[in-house]
Symmetry: C2
Subunit: 480 residues, 2 copies
């Protein structure tokens, strides 16, 4: 083997030693991203981008099934437009990128690069909505947005990121509220079914609401290290934006009314969630539904007669049902094993002279390394069933992590000691509803409020902080 072929798959930092470094190692060594010369703006390489494309396809189907249509809004928001809704501009102005010049000319008004597109959708809705017959408007957009973050990490917090943003307008508050929850459920279903990630659904406290929202709902996932990841949000706006942008319709009774609006979004951050939910010390472990390669075929003793032919035949055959890659390069078997473990390919298919003789192949699962000998007749059925088993196991494992690391506490001191003894996780605790207590808990324990879960439990009748009457259970935790 020539010198340059002896490329080795470098080992990554163990997650127990340094979780942040483990994460960064995977992101780089699984060829997901490359850094660019602009801080917080990364290159999504083919393997990383393909995961996003699969996420897109899956979610897009779910959006269409719930009646949504795709549109594309401009990248730029004039400063005066951004300022129309007071809370919104206060929330976003500090973190937007400003365009001040076009070529050599100074612009008469600064334009911000969209950090989110509520204002643009509102401007458009005020143009196109006149009658109750124009409602609801159920729009979604796939695009890039920019937020000038101080600290950045690939996928988790970047200055430019890819996302989808749904923006809907409804005749009544009730319909809009229903939409808000419907889309949160779509996100939770997607995370469970396609990313194998369990989430807690709930409402954000008022201090944590989206800028301009009446209520913000979120799904919260728990990573390997016990930190929470907000995986998707859905906002109910009431008629606040409609009043600011004058979006009205003539109702059946011939009166003019304001529309009620929602918005909801998920981002490339989900890829970070996949890494930290499923990855291990050998690299990525990808959910079959979004894996760019579901089955990698590795010929064994490929110089022997008939092996490569059989491998190619299998590649062609299986490609009709799955996303398949054949690696017939002259890299060593050991290198190939490591490489596709690093890349998290759900199933490895090995086929050598003896297998061919026996009309079988070897299938090895990425998630638990289980090996099985499978007949080539009916191979598709076996692979389908294995991929489905892998999904279930991955979900169960992630759910166990979430359950094992969710603790109930009655006092702030108890939160502190649980976090100190058991490490990070979700803390369920009662809350009186005051922002003071919310802040104090965070100050004392480092764990902020994640959400007020839809599934409430009565752990006690006293606030974990002030001891006064409390009716609300909150999930607390440290978060990405």
């Amino acid at each position: 083997m020539a010198q340059e072929q002896k490329k080795l798959v470098e080992a990554i930092t163990a997650m127990e030693d340094d979780f942040a470094q483990w994460y960064t190692d995977i992101v780089k060594k699984a060829d997901l991203i490359d850094y660019s010369s602009v801080k917080g703006c990364t290159v999504l390489r083919p393997y990383g981008y393909a995961i996003w494309e699969n996420i897109q396809k899956d979610l897009d189907r779910r959006f269409r099934e719930t009646g949504h249509e795709n549109v594309y809004m401009p990248l730029f928001i004039p400063e005066s437009l951004l300022q129309k809704e007071k809370d919104h501009v206060e929330g976003f102005a500090p973190e937007v990128a400003w365009v001040t010049h076009g070529g050599d000319e100074k612009l008469s008004e600064r334009l911000c690069v969209r950090p989110t597109s509520e204002t643009l959708f509102c401007e458009h809705y005020s143009n196109i909505i006149q009658s109750h017959r124009d409602l609801p408007k159920l729009y979604n957009q796939w695009c890039n947005v920019v937020r000038w973050e101080k600290t950045t990490r690939p996928f988790l917090r970047s200055r430019e990121f890819l996302w989808q943003e749904g923006h809907t307008a409804h005749a009544t508050a009730e319909e809009a509220r229903e939409e808000t929850v419907r889309m949160l459920n779509v996100y939770a279903d997607f995370c469970r079914e396609s990313l194998c990630i369990p989430t807690v659904k709930g409402r954000k406290t008022d201090s944590d609401k989206f800028a301009g929202a009446e209520a913000t709902y979120a799904i919260e996932a728990l990573m390997h290290d016990g930190k929470a990841l907000q995986a998707g949000t859905s906002h109910y706006f009431g008629d606040g934006f409609a009043r600011a942008f004058d979006i009205t319709y003539t109702d059946k009774d011939n009166t003019l009314k304001y529309v009620h609006q929602t918005s909801w979004g998920v981002t490339t951050r989900l890829i970070g969630g996949v890494i930290m939910s499923h990855g291990d010390n050998n690299g990525l472990v990808l959910p079959p539904a979004v894996a760019p390669v579901q089955v990698v075929i590795l010929p064994v003793a490929q110089h022997k007669e008939g092996v490569l032919e059989k491998a190619r035949e299998l590649k062609e055959r299986l490609s009709r049902s799955f996303r398949v890659k054949l690696d017939d390069s002259d890299n060593s078997a050991g290198w190939k094993f490591s490489e596709y473990e690093m890349k998290g390919v759900p199933l490895r298919l090995e086929i050598g002279p003896k297998d061919i003789e026996n009309g079988q192949c070897v299938l090895v699962r990425r998630d638990n390394r289980e090996k099985s000998f499978v007949k080539l007749d009916g191979l598709e059925t076996a692979i389908s069933s294995l991929l489905s088993d892998i999904s279930s196991s991955m979900y169960e494992k992630a759910l166990k992590n979430l359950n094992d690391r969710t603790y109930s506490c009655l006092t702030a001191d108890e939160i502190k000691s649980v976090l100190a003894e058991k490490g990070d996780g979700f803390i369920k605790a009662m809350w009186c509803g005051s922002e003071d207590c919310e802040n104090k808990v965070k100050e004392l324990t480092g764990a902020g409020s994640r959400c007020i879960p839809f599934e409430q439990e009565i752990l006690s009748d006293k606030c974990v902080c002030c001891g006064k009457t409390a009716n609300t259970m909150i999930y607390w935790g440290k978060a990405y």
Copy 2:
């Protein structure tokens, strides 16, 4: 019918009266776009964006079949990075949007919003290409770009637009040249097969090359009004960018060599091309391959028993094979006919009580209004065959327009008189190769050089301008 339901489909300006206004009317009244408050940045509405999504899907398949992978590069290019290739920055700096502030802070270096991403791909390629084994790199990106144009028109010239940009790196000049032409052919095939638009393939003159390219190739289409539309370009860079960005690889002989590169792109401008190639005075005429709705079902006398049920049954059945919409609103039949003509839906399916009795329906073609009665048994086959006929007819009609409006001229005076007598079109004429003559012809006649077609003819041995020896035939014309 209530007052508000009596919405009429407003007539559009006739193209013979005012072609530009006809175009703008269609763009607005077929619900393709809405204007935003930033000049040159438009909203792509669901119907307009769906055309782009269909173009994307089709082209993306063709790119994959030719071995390309999708990636995503950052939106921002630092000024110093843009400046690395001299010709490139000279071409683009005058028309880029500059970001100077992030939140309240002034950036230490200005960032331009990508007008095109050669510099970003080059930076990335210099990171990831080391050996001949890393080549070729065949990448493509779907994204938005920004060019600060002075004059703007929806789809044809906008400050922000959507496009794809392929960027490839190869071991040899020959391979890169082959790629350049391969992708031009992919574009031409796509235009012919999916957009029903014939194009002339050729090379741009040196004065019309892409900034930083050694050679630029283009496909040129001819619109209804006889003006040319550059529909796609493919650039050969040689090793110019590789030298500027130090993109080298170790070859098999162990020497360090520069890569050779290409880039190629098409944009949402193609939608403008579809409008101006096929549209008529009743609105859009969409090629079946990219039409968001291929068949619109209009129930006739829908209040009569069984009609709506049958229409819904057909909608469900046909949706398995086609993109189908059922309009069972209570708008009048006349309104519906006009509306879906305006929107360019290739086939209208009418079904009423008598049709149901006879086990048939009525199919009406948008392109030539031909009506046929078709049995419900085997309806799918009939629709497939009609859609395919529509595509062929649309292509033939556009080809006839191109051929009828292509003239051969031997002198500049002849060009002037042909344009004056017959209106705009393509002028084939010989050229000596000097930029002076190229400029002079444009000055004298208003027709610039469009391309040096691959299919050369010898019309004479003299330049149309200076009369000196000429070996090159050029297509001249006015262009969008």
